[in-house]
Structures are given as structure tokens and as C-alpha cells.
Subunit: 205 residues, 2 copies
């Protein structure tokens, strides 16, 4: 596996380039320990209480070591979220009609996100931060959403209609924002997105 592939299909790589490039085996292991500890700490105490210091302690490294790899809590949350999404590689959904494939995609994505509720709660505010490490991950996460919707929309008939793809991704991110604000639960957003796909595709199938 060489390098990131933003525009590609579905990503199976796990560590982002920022955290992988130029690391030796021991450093890479430290990063994996920090990520595992970060997720455990997040599940245990939630994103407001978690600190890089408590993550370092759980990983058995010094805070200074942790800060070598993680610039902020927001960076940790963005990295964990991106891993969580991209680990769920799967294939493109089957189905003869784009509407079916897209509905399967929104159900799969929301199910994946809701599987780590503390991470879901952490990531929306985290992704609004100005930190350059967060900005890079924000692009990768957005790229992952685009790639999944594009695969489902286009099926065998690539390229997908860019304007329709844009609406699907905007609708999906709008629903994630409403969930992040507590206006909708993730179960509600799955149902609303299935209905939204139906509405959007009515004139675009």
C-alpha cells in the first residue's frame, strides 16, 4: 500500500500519513498504543474529561512522547474517527438502482458512526478546530464520504453526476451536524437519510 489515495474508492489503510511517514517500527508501535489508549480513554471518560496526559498514562508513555505524535485532543479525535471510518472498508454496496445503493451506504455509514458514540460526540466539535493536523484529517474524512457516495451513486456507470454527489454529501454532513448538536439521534438520522436519498434521487436516478 503506497501513500494516500484521496480520490480513490475505499481506503483500507489505517494510519494517516501525518502519523506514519518516517516512523521506525518502535515509533509506529507507540502511535498504535496511543491510538488504542485514546479510544479506551474516550469510551471510559468521554471527550470532555479526556486529556492527552491521561491518554499518555494509559498508553504507558510520557506526556512529552504523546505530544510528539498528537498535537491536541482534537487531533486525537479526528485521527480516531478517520481510522474508525476507513477501517470499515467493505465493498461498494450491491443493488441495481443507485437509490438502493445509496440507502445502503447511508445506513452503513451511520451504523459505523453510532458504533462508537463517544467518538461521534467528540468529532463534530473537534473537526471545527483550526489545528493544521485537524485540517488535514478533515479533508481525508470528507474525501472518504465523497468516495463512498460516489461509488454508490455511480455503480458501474462512472463518473457520477458531480452535482448530485454534492447534494448527497451536503445532506449527509447536515444530518451529522444535527446529530452533533443533539437535535437528532443517529437512529433518527439513518431513517431521515434513507428518506432524503429517495427525495434527492426522484429526478436523478
Amino acid at each position: 500500500m503506497s501513500g494516500p489515495h484521496y480520490g480513490g474508492h475505499m481506503s483500507s489503510q489505517v494510519t494517516s500519513p501525518a502519523l506514519r511517514q518516517g516512523l521506525n517500527a518502535r515509533q509506529a508501535e507507540t502511535v498504535e498504543n496511543l491510538m488504542a489508549a485514546g479510544l479506551q480513554e474516550l469510551r471510559a471518560v468521554g471527550h470532555e474529561v479526556l486529556t492527552i496526559r491521561t491518554v499518555a498514562q494509559r498508553a504507558g508513555v510520557s506526556p512529552a512522547t504523546a505530544y510528539t505524535y498528537l498535537s491536541s485532543k482534537n487531533h486525537l479525535f479526528a485521527e480516531l474517527f478517520w481510522r474508525h471510518l476507513s477501517e470499515d472498508g467493505g465493498g461498494a454496496p450491491a443493488g441495481a438502482r443507485a437509490t438502493e445503493r445509496l440507502q445502503a451506504t447511508v445506513r452503513a455509514l451511520t451504523a459505523r458512526i453510532v458504533a462508537e458514540p463517544e467518538l461521534a460526540a467528540a468529532v463534530t466539535p473537534a473537526l471545527l478546530g483550526g489545528d493544521p493536523d485537524v485540517a488535514r484529517l478533515r479533508l481525508r474524512i470528507g474525501g472518504e464520504f465523497y468516495a463512498r457516495f460516489e461509488a454508490a451513486l455511480a455503480g458501474d456507470r462512472r463518473p457520477a453526476d458531480a452535482a448530485v454527489l454534492e447534494v448527497l454529501v451536503l445532506t449527509f454532513t447536515g444530518a451529522l451536524l444535527q446529530a452533533g448538536m443533539g437535535l437528532l439521534t443517529y437512529d433518527q438520522i439513518a431513517d431521515r437519510l434513507v428518506s432524503a436519498v429517495e427525495v434527492i434521487m426522484r429526478g436523478n436516478e
Copy 2:
């Protein structure tokens, strides 16, 4: 003018109930001074530097007085944003087709938001906060978006199709989130939303 009207058409009231109920004339004047000072301070120093303390100073009141009316910076930003939106009452846009009316609505809303760029930058992270005063304003702001899209979608043929309305609002909030993350400028979101309305309405006019 009595009480809030969440489900109604367009709101012309300016102060939210939380900040209005049970205030005497002098208190109401203090609130207006704080709001004016808050907007000036926000324009002058940006949302990261602004504090309730500096807003109080600009308004000529004590910090304790300011905290009587404003529970947090996020509360201030949410209140200012809601006022900014609802002051722009206008009428429902004209046009024979829902698509035209909706496109005029997204242009008007984004133009209104971009008219106060520091407020736009402040409000997305602010609205993700857990503060109860913010939660109340979040519902009012969401209600305002729904009301405007509903008026444009339905025209004379009320009620509007709820599923289509949902997609329009989700798409709009998704675009605001992307702007809040710096992924799109507000000029870009206006153009993309005009295109998005076209796509969504293709099978729903």
C-alpha cells in the same frame, strides 16, 4: 407581539424570550447595550479573543451584570446570530416555481450570514455547545431555517412536502458546516446551494 412562534412564517421579533421575559425597561436597555457591544467587540477582535468581560467593559456595565444576561460566549454568539437572521425578515420570495423561490432563499440567507463574517465564524462551534441557553437558541435558529424554506417550497400550496423540506434544510446546514470548517467560502456555498436546489427539485417541483 406575544411570545415566540416557532412554527410560524418569518419572525420579526428581535430579542429571544430568554432575554426578554420579565425584564423592566432599564434591564431591557442593558440587554440591548450588551448585544450592541457584543457585536462591535466581535467585529473588532474576533470570537476567539472576545470575552464576556471585554463585552461588559464596552457596554459600560460590570462583568457581574453581563453574566446576569449572558451565560457564556457561546450564548452571546447564538443570540447575536439569531437576531441577525430574524431581523432580516423580508417577505417570502416571489417566483412561480418552487425552485426559483428556493434559490432566492438560499442566496438571501447566505448573503445575510456572510454580511457578518466574524459572527458566521463564531456561530457554528458555538451552536455545538451543551449550554441550555444555546440549546434553546439552536432550536429557534433551526426553526427559522425551516420556516424560510417552507415558505419558499410551498408558495401558495401549503403544506409543503415534509420530506423535501427536510432535505433542503439538511443540505443547507451541511453547507454551513462546510463553511464553518473552512472547506467552502460563503460565496461558494451560495453557488453550490443554488445548484443543489436544482438537483433536489428535479423530481419534486
